[in-house]
Each structure stands twice: as structure tokens, then as C-alpha cells.
């Protein structure tokens, strides 16, 4: 008579084969559309358009016409997808083509979703594809968007369940949203304690990510993309007051080599002997949070005293790590803006500082020669002449600088006279070298927005800057910023002020200001979530006496904390919040007391008989028991709901009733 297991299997398959109802399909389409939208900015435009069209047509087709999609239509689409991706990316391997393929497959999966089972697998795959969008950027808004995309997917999953009535569309999201919200504690515990991998299992993460930031080669016009890029580059939290705006130069790379067109950093090989540094007060200690760059070098306030942990210092006091920076990086540095750098210059460095490609820019060389004649060995005077040329020579700061010809420095100095930091730094160093004074280009960031609320300096990519260092006898390498000679606001007020009126509409001042303030949330996100690496995880258990927790300790902590959260949620779930009838509760209490006194109620016994027997058994309580019995019977059976006043009296009576055991 008991149902065989076969029955159970049968019913499961019935469930899975159930045709997809309209609500579930709508939600599924919405979920897939959300996932597609997450990936849309990175998909090739035409592919994205086609996928969106396929999605829309399929939704409309099933809604108004119904019926399956013909195999003749499905097969060519399935075959065309890999071809389209191959055509767009050139290779089927890698993160971007892989994600595009996954999105395409998800959309095509809708074409054959007719049954509950298809929809369920589409949801599972859809959540995977939604997650993969985070591989391309894990900012807070992106994470929130992905979480929101999970909602329609979960709602679709719920709509697959048999239900009596289809709720209103908006209500379909209520339960998944609530469930996600209630799952946050458990999710956070898991997030904190899931042991991180110390090295990746496969692939070099981020190897192909589009790189932003300063590159080791600087040709005229290269910085334009950077200067219009509002993404954060680094955030700096100073231990004390921040340095004044004019001293916020963050050194990245020193570029020695000029090939006539572009400046290049020679390898930033670590040196056992960095240039000598004589720092003067004030010193600044700070923590830098560097966004991933995919490059090796770090940025520090000019000039760092020592390399942070895990990093090395080159001869020109550039900082670099052995591995590219693929994740948000935190490091601490101390710098001295006022210093003497390399007061003594050896011959090799002097030669590098004077290198110029032969056969380029004759007019600039001639100009430098005249300065040399006029000022002789006085490097300061020659540099001053160059700065006054920029200041008074009709030069202007312009992000949309015209292109330069073969003799780029000549073209700039005597032709266009328009440009931005890299033009000026490049021309300035060229002139210095041509005049026989060692000079070099330094690339990095300058300026930044002081976020008073968060107490940190936000440096964006658009704060990228190039300046010059000129070697002065007795003083060493000295910073000269020729851009400041043209446009002092660049240094005192920042890149945005310098480029005022040249930015796009979305770089309007008030918008920038709002974004700068909003950045504090991004910073918190970066510090708390993105930057939570294995190192910080290991420090998690330090307050509990576990120094540098290993894998096992973390797993144990994960298990313990999860168990705690689970116990709490189980308590919530198991708690029966049925309101007990106060009369029944009082009666149960009375019966317990009577049972202790030796008169337990028999299962077959009604209240009337029970009270009678109790009265006989405990004659010393006869009056009380009479009263109690009458009151109970009246309250319970005389009317549908006991009246409040007699009920309260009865409860008090019961509380006061202390039967004594009969002494036999």
C-alpha cells in the first residue's frame, strides 16, 4: 500500500515537464534581459543589438502567438553565435569572448525554453553569467546592479512552483528580495571566512584587461585619454594634515630616454643604491590605496624615503612590485616633498640625463644654444629662461592640442604652442638637455580632490601629470613644472580647473563635485570588500588570539560562525508563533500543579470529572477547587470566547492556588 519510490520519481518528472506559464516566462525574459544589460556595454555593439532583438522577438512571439520556435530558426542562430564572436574578437579564448558567448547562449536558451526544467536551468546559467559581469569591474554600483539582476531570476524560479493564484507582477519580487536581505548575515560570514587562495589556480587574472593609467611611454597626445578619464587612480590617507595643493606630486615613473617623438622609462630595475636623498621637514606618512593598473610600479608622494613592504626602489626612487598590480593595493609610504635628491651626479647618470636623439628639432637646439651662450653654466637661469618662454611666448593650455610633425619639439615650440603637461614637460627637458643641463621627465599624478568627510585625497586618472626634474649643482634633481608656467591653476586647483570649459558635458563642475563626494562610498567599498585579501583575512582572527590564521583556522571559524547564524535562523523558523489560548495555558498550569499534588488528569477524563476527583482527593482545597472548576467550565463552555474580566480573575486564582500534597 505504500507508494513505491517510482511514484515519487514520476511526480518529479511531471513537475519538470510542466509547460512554462506566462508569468514565469515573463520573469525569465526580464532576468535574461537584465543579465544582457549588465554585459551590454562590453559586447560588440552589433552583437548586443542582435541579442536584444532576439530576446524581444522571442518574448513577443511566445506571449502573443505561442508555440515552439522552429528548429530551422534555432540552428542557424546557434551556429552563427560563435562565428559572430570569432569575427568580433578574433579569438574564442579569453574573458571577453567567453562572456559574450555565455550571454549569447543564455539568450538563445530562451528560444527553447518551453518547460519548467528549461527555465530552471536558464535561471541557474543566468545567475552564473550575471556574476561573470563582475570580472570586468567590481565597483559598488556594478555589484548592486548584478544583485538586482538576480532578483527577476529568483522570481522566475519561484514562479515555476505550483501556486494557487498568480500574484501581481510587482509582488513576485517581494519574496526573493526579502530572502536575499535575510541571507545577508550568513553571506557576510561566508564572505569573511571563506579561505582565499594565496595564488590563482589557473590563468593570470586580468592579463588582458584594458589598461588605464600611466604607461611607460609618453608620446605627444598620449595623455589625452587619461586626462578625460574620471576613474579613481589612487586614494591617499595622510596620517596628519595633507600637503598643500602645490606639493601634491605623486611620482610614478622617471623617463630618461627620448627617441625624437616619445619619452620612455628605461627599465625600473631595482637598485641596491637609490639616489641619495637628504630629506627636510616636513615628512608625510600616508597610506595609498591604488586601483589595479596591471603594471608594476607604485605611486608615492615626491619623494619617498623608502619602499613599502613587498615593493622595491629603483635608482631614480621609483617604486615597483615584482608582480603586476591586478587588485586594489594598499601600502604605506613616508615622503619628503622638500629634499635634496642625488646632490652628486655620476658620469653615467649625467650621460643619461643629457641624452638626445641626433637629427631632430634643430630650432630647439639652436634656441637652447643661445641660452647656453647667454647664461653659461647657470642651470637655474637657463631653466628660468625656458619657463618665461612658456609663460610669455604665447603658449596656451589645451587638451585638444593639434598633432605635431616629425620634429615634435620644434613644431610645438615654434608652431602650435598649444598643449598640456606632456608637451610642456617634453619640450622643457629637451631644451635643458640641449643646453647641456641634465634633465628628465617624471610621470605621475598631481593634485587630487581632498575629501574632507573621508579624510583622504582622491586622485583620479584625469590628474595624470608629467613634469621635469633638472639637476642643479648642490641641490640635486629639482622639480620644475613647466605646465604651471602656462597655467598655474593646473597645479593649484587641479586638472579639472585647468581644463575648464574643455570637458564634456558630464564633466560639469557640480557633477564633478558630487562625484568627488560620492567617492567616499567607493572608497569604503574598495577598502572593506574589494581590498579584503588573504592578508587581511589572516589578520581577522588576531583579536581572538590567532596570529596569522591559516586555512584550517579560517575554515573552523567559518564553520563556527555559520553554525551560529544558522542556529539563530533556525530559532526564528522553528519558533511557533501561534498565540496560545490564555485559558488553556492557565488550565495546563493548574493541572501541572495538581499532578504534583498527586492528582494527574487521566487522558479519558473531562474537566468536570477531573475537578470532582481533585476535590475528593484534596479535601483541604475543596472550596478553592470548586470555585476554580466552576469558573473554568463557565469560561470555557458558557460562551464562545471568555469574557476578559472573569478570565483575568480566573488567571489570578490559578496563580495563587498552591495545592499541598495529601499526607497519606
Amino acid at each position: 500500500m505504500t507508494p513505491r519510490p517510482a511514484d515519487a520519481r514520476l511526480s518529479t518528472s511531471i513537475d519538470a515537464q510542466r509547460p512554462l506559464d506566462r508569468r514565469a516566462f515573463d520573469l525569465l525574459c526580464l532576468g535574461v534581459a537584465a543579465v544582457l544589460a549588465l554585459h551590454l556595454p562590453r559586447l560588440p555593439p552589433r552583437l548586443g543589438l542582435v541579442l536584444a532583438a532576439v530576446l524581444a522577438v522571442r518574448w513577443a512571439q511566445r506571449r502573443w502567438r505561442g508555440g515552439r520556435v522552429s528548429l530551422l530558426l534555432k540552428l542557424p542562430l546557434v551556429a552563427a553565435l560563435p562565428l559572430a564572436i570569432l569575427a568580433a574578437y578574433g579569438s574564442p579564448f579569453g574573458r571577453a569572448p567567453g562572456a559574450a558567448l555565455a550571454v549569447g547562449m543564455l539568450v538563445l536558451k530562451l528560444l527553447e525554453s518551453e518547460r519548467a526544467r528549461d527555465a530552471a536551468s536558464a535561471v541557474a546559467f543566468g545567475s552564473f553569467v550575471a556574476m561573470s559581469a563582475l570580472l570586468f569591474g567590481q565597483s559598488l554600483p556594478m555589484t548592486v546592479l548584478v544583485a538586482l539582476a538576480l532578483l527577476p531570476l529568483l522570481a522566475a524560479l519561484q514562479a515555476l512552483q505550483p501556486a494557487a493564484a498568480v500574484p501581481p507582477f510587482a509582488r513576485a519580487f517581494a519574496r526573493p528580495a526579502l530572502l536575499l536581505a535575510l541571507s545577508l548575515p550568513l553571506a557576510l560570514v561566508a564572505f569573511l571566512f571563506v579561505p582565499r587562495l594565496s595564488s590563482p589556480l589557473w590563468g593570470a587574472p586580468g592579463a588582458e584587461q584594458a589598461r588605464t593609467g600611466i604607461s611607460p611611454r609618453m608620446a605627444p597626445g598620449d595623455f589625452v585619454d587619461l586626462l578625460t578619464d574620471d576613474r579613481p587612480a589612487l586614494r591617499v590617507a595622510f596620517d596628519g594634515a595633507p600637503p598643500p595643493p602645490g606639493q601634491r606630486y605623486f611620482r610614478g615613473l622617471v623617463m630618461w630616454h627620448f627617441d625624437g617623438r616619445a619619452w620612455a622609462a628605461t627599465s625600473t630595475a631595482p637598485s641596491s643604491q637609490p639616489e641619495a636623498l637628504h630629506p627636510q621637514a616636513p615628512l608625510y606618512s600616508y597610506e595609498v590605496t591604488l586601483e589595479p593598473t596591471g603594471r608594476h610600479w607604485l605611486f608615492a608622494l615626491d619623494t619617498p624615503l623608502a619602499a613599502p613592504a613587498d615593493a622595491l626602489m629603483s635608482a631614480a626612487r621609483e617604486l615597483a612590485r615584482s608582480r603586476p598590480i591586478d587588485a586594489v593595493l594598499h601600502y604605506r609610504v613616508t615622503s619628503a616633498p622638500r629634499r635634496a635628491l642625488a646632490p652628486a651626479l655620476d658620469d653615467a647618470e649625467r650621460r643619461r640625463g643629457l641624452q638626445l636623439p641626433p637629427g631632430f628639432d634643430p630650432r630647439a637646439r639652436a634656441l637652447a644654444a643661445t641660452w647656453r651662450q647667454r647664461h653659461g653654466d647657470d642651470a637655474r637661469a637657463i631653466a628660468g629662461a625656458a619657463l618665461s618662454l612658456f609663460h610669455d611666448g604665447g603658449f596656451s593650455y589645451n587638451l585638444a592640442a593639434p598633432p605635431l610633425g616629425r620634429d615634435s619639439v620644434d613644431d610645438f615650440l615654434f608652431g602650435t604652442r598649444e598643449g598640456f603637461c606632456e608637451h610642456y614637460a617634453s619640450a622643457f627637458v629637451f631644451l635643458m638637455r640641449a643646453a647641456g643641463i641634465p634633465a628628465r621627465v617624471v610621470a605621475g599624478y598631481q593634485g587630487g580632490y581632498w575629501n574632507a568627510l573621508g579624510g583622504y585625497l582622491l586622485v583620479r586618472q584625469s590628474d595624470a601629470h608629467a613634469w621635469a626634474e633638472v639637476w642643479l649643482p648642490g641641490q640635486g634633481w629639482t622639480r620644475y613644472d613647466p605646465t604651471a608656467a602656462v597655467r598655474p591653476e593646473r597645479v593649484t586647483l587641479g586638472a579639472a580647473a585647468a581644463a575648464a570649459g574643455q570637458g564634456a558635458w558630464y564633466q560639469a563642475d557640480w557633477l564633478q563635485a558630487a562625484r568627488n563626494r560620492w567617492d567616499i562610498v567607493n572608497r569604503l567599498w574598495d577598502r572593506a570588500v574589494i581590498g579584503f585579501d588573504s592578508l587581511r583575512q589572516r589578520g581577522l582572527l588576531t583579536p581572538f588570539g590567532v596570529e596569522r590564521a591559516d586555512w584550517g583556522a579560517l575554515a573552523a571559524a567559518l564553520a563556527a560562525m555559520s553554525a551560529l547564524v544558522l542556529a539563530l535562523s533556525l530559532l526564528l523558523v522553528l519558533a511557533r508563533r501561534e498565540r496560545r489560548d490564555p485559558l488553556a495555558a492557565a488550565q495546563a498550569r493548574l493541572e501541572r500543579r495538581l499532578a504534583r499534588a498527586g492528582v494527574a488528569r487521566r487522558p479519558s477524563e473531562g474537566p468536570l470529572h477531573y475537578f470532582r476527583r481533585a476535590t475528593r482527593a484534596l479535601p483541604q482545597h475543596r472550596d478553592e477547587l470548586h470555585a476554580l472548576g466552576d469558573a473554568y467550565l463557565a469560561l470555557r463552555y458558557a460562551c464562545a470566547a471568555p469574557a476578559p474580566e472573569p478570565l483575568r480573575n480566573y488567571l489570578i486564582q490559578v496563580r495563587r492556588f498552591r495545592p499541598r500534597r495529601m499526607v497519606q
Binding site: 507508494p3 545567475s127 556574476m131 512552483q161 505550483p162 530572502l179 585579501d533 523558523v573 522553528l574
Partner: protein
């Protein structure tokens, strides 16, 4: 001495097990209504889809860890936690549900027996519930503090009392990742009526010629004329009408119903096996009831009637079903 102590210890342990682990003992035995589901009798396992979803979550976790993508890791943890908590929701969908009433219908052996199960929701609304019985899986949902009837159909084979099979009430609410279920074995029995025979002679006194002759003689109202069929008594031939017609016509009479008195006698049937007799009597009872007649059912041990109507009909069928 030691043996009795051990035995009492064992029986205590058994009683304790009975109380604490009803799954092992009590749930196989029928239990009285109402049956309320609680945590000790609700089981949960992941469904196949749940396992697949778990595999996808594991892939996401590995990917997020490999690419040190903390945002993806956080969301993966969130999704996993939600999936896990959906298990608690599945539990809650069953916890507190109670089976209040079981009302079996009537069926002849070989037909499907409808059974109405009355469920009460308790304090919260429940959706996505399912009863698995005999291959069919009716789904239902209940509002909070409401009751609902779910009809299941049980296959029947032989006449007699049919104990309700163990029923499985299950749910995969809300996401289909986990299946929570509980066994219900109410101690209700249904009664399966005997299978009526397909063909056979009519009951004595039902529509036979003799009765019609008698009825005709008793001055029943003339119902109409029909073509003569071989074997019709000459007494009923309408001669005058036949004279104006090509063939012979026979008078038919309308009998008043209350005059139709049948005696369905066990002992009057000879030459049949025990079950065949029951089958014939069953058919007779069905026919008599359909003809709106009065009948008396004479069984070896008892005599029912004479009576008519639905109550009598079911009493007779029940008596037939319960024959040894």
C-alpha cells in the same frame, strides 16, 4: 533480575524512540486525525536541480576566488545563503500544516476512488504544496488560517475496506532547490464497492414480462404502442390499432414506481461462485437504484430493506463490499 532490567530499559528506549523519532516507528503505523506536521516528521533533501545549482555556485565560488574578485565572491555567498535559506522556507511551508479531515468517496473496484483531504494552514499562508499519491500529484496552496480540500484519487482493485496508503505531502517551495516532505498515514479506511458484473440476467421482478402482464392487468396507465416482437404475449396486442397498421402493435404500460418491488436474494442465485454472486447482486442493486425502484437485499447474514433511495443504496453496497 538483570534480564528484566534490560527489558524494561529496552522498552523505555523504544518508547523514547517512538516519541523522539516517529519517522522510524510511528509514521508507518496509521495515526488518528488531525495530523499536524512538525519538525520531527519533516524531511528535506536537495532536488536534482538543487544539486545542479549547487554545482554552479561552487563554480562561481572557485572563479571568484581564483580571480580574487571579492564582489563576485560576496554575491556568490549571498546567492548561496539565499539558496540555503530557501531550505528553511521549504520547511516552513510544511511546518504547522495539519490534515484535519479525510473524506473518502465511493468507487466500485477497478475505478479510481476519490478521497478529499481537508488541510488547515495554521498561522501562515502556504503555497506550492503537493500530495503524491498513486502517480498523481495534485498541487494546492492555502491562505493563512484557512482550510482547503484536496482531492486525490486512489486506484482500487478489490472490494472491501481500503486503508489509505501512506501519502506524501511535499513541497519544493520557493525555488525548487530543496524538497521537503512528510508522510501522512491517516487511519481512515475507505470502502470499495464490489465490481458489478458486466452482463447477466435482470433481477427477479425487474422489467420482466410477467411483471408487465401483472401490471397490465392491474390497470396501469397505457404508455404507448410499439412494434410487436417475437415472444410478446397475445394479451397485449392492440388489435384495433394493429388493424390500421402494417404490422402488429403491442400495448405498453407505465408502471407506477412504488409498485416496482424487487427482491435481490443471495440464495436465489445458484451455480455461481461467491464473488460472482456478489457481482450480480451489485449489478442488481445498481439497476434497482437507477430504476428508482424499491428493493430488498437478502444476504446470507442479513436482510436489508425493503427500502429505496441513496441511503439504502449505499448500505446495500457496503454490505456487499464487506461480505466475507
Amino acid at each position: 533480575m538483570a534480564a528484566t532490567a534490560l527489558r524494561s530499559l529496552l522498552s523505555q528506549a523504544y518508547a523514547r524512540a517512538e516519541r523522539r523519532l516517529p519517522a522510524l516507528t510511528r509514521l508507518k503505523a496509521p495515526e488518528p486525525l488531525p495530523i499536524a506536521l512538525h519538525r520531527r516528521r519533516i524531511y528535506i533533501v536537495p532536488t536534482r536541480f538543487g544539486l545542479g545549482f549547487g554545482a554552479i555556485l561552487a563554480t562561481m565560488l572557485l572563479g571568484a576566488l581564483n580571480y580574487t574578485n571579492n564582489a563576485a565572491l560576496l554575491l556568490t555567498c549571498l546567492l548561496a545563503a539565499a539558496a540555503f535559506n530557501s531550505m528553511l522556507l521549504a520547511f516552513r511551508a510544511l511546518d504547522g500544516l495539519s490534515l484535519r479531515t479525510v473524506r473518502p468517496g465511493h468507487a466500485f473496484a477497478g475505478e479510481a476512488l476519490p478521497v478529499d483531504l481537508g488541510f488547515a494552514a495554521g498561522g501562515r499562508a502556504r503555497a506550492g504544496l503537493r500530495i503524491d499519491a498513486a502517480g498523481a500529484a495534485p498541487c494546492f496552496a492555502i491562505e493563512a488560517n484557512a482550510e482547503t480540500d484536496v482531492r486525490i484519487e486512489l486506484p482500487t482493485d478489490t472490494r472491501g475496506p481500503l486503508p489509505l496508503p501512506r501519502l506524501r505531502v511535499s513541497t519544493t517551495w520557493p525555488f525548487g532547490l530543496f524538497r521537503a516532505w512528510s508522510w501522512l498515514s491517516p487511519d481512515t479506511r475507505a470502502l470499495v464497492y464490489p465490481r458489478p458484473e458486466a452482463h447477466g440476467p435482470a433481477a427477479p421482478g425487474a422489467d420482466s414480462d410477467g411483471e408487465r402482464v401483472q401490471g397490465g392487468a392491474a390497470g396501469d396507465a397505457l404508455a404507448g404502442l410499439r412494434e410487436y416482437r417475437a415472444g410478446d404475449p397475445l394479451k397485449l396486442v392492440a388489435w384495433k390499432a394493429s388493424a390500421r397498421h402494417a404490422g402488429l402493435l403491442v400495448k405498453e404500460f407505465e408502471r407506477p414506481r412504488d409498485r416496482d418491488e424487487r427482491r435481490l436474494d443471495w440464495h436465489a442465485i445458484r451455480g455461481l461462485s461467491h464473488e460472482a454472486r456478489i457481482a450480480r447482486l451489485t449489478r442488481w442493486v445498481i439497476e434497482a437504484h437507477a430504476a428508482n425502484a424499491r428493493w430488498t437485499l437478502v444476504l446470507p447474514a442479513e436482510t436489508l430493506g425493503p427500502d429505496a433511495g441513496v441511503g439504502h443504496y449505499h448500505r446495500c453496497l457496503a454490505a456487499l463490499a464487506l461480505l466475507p
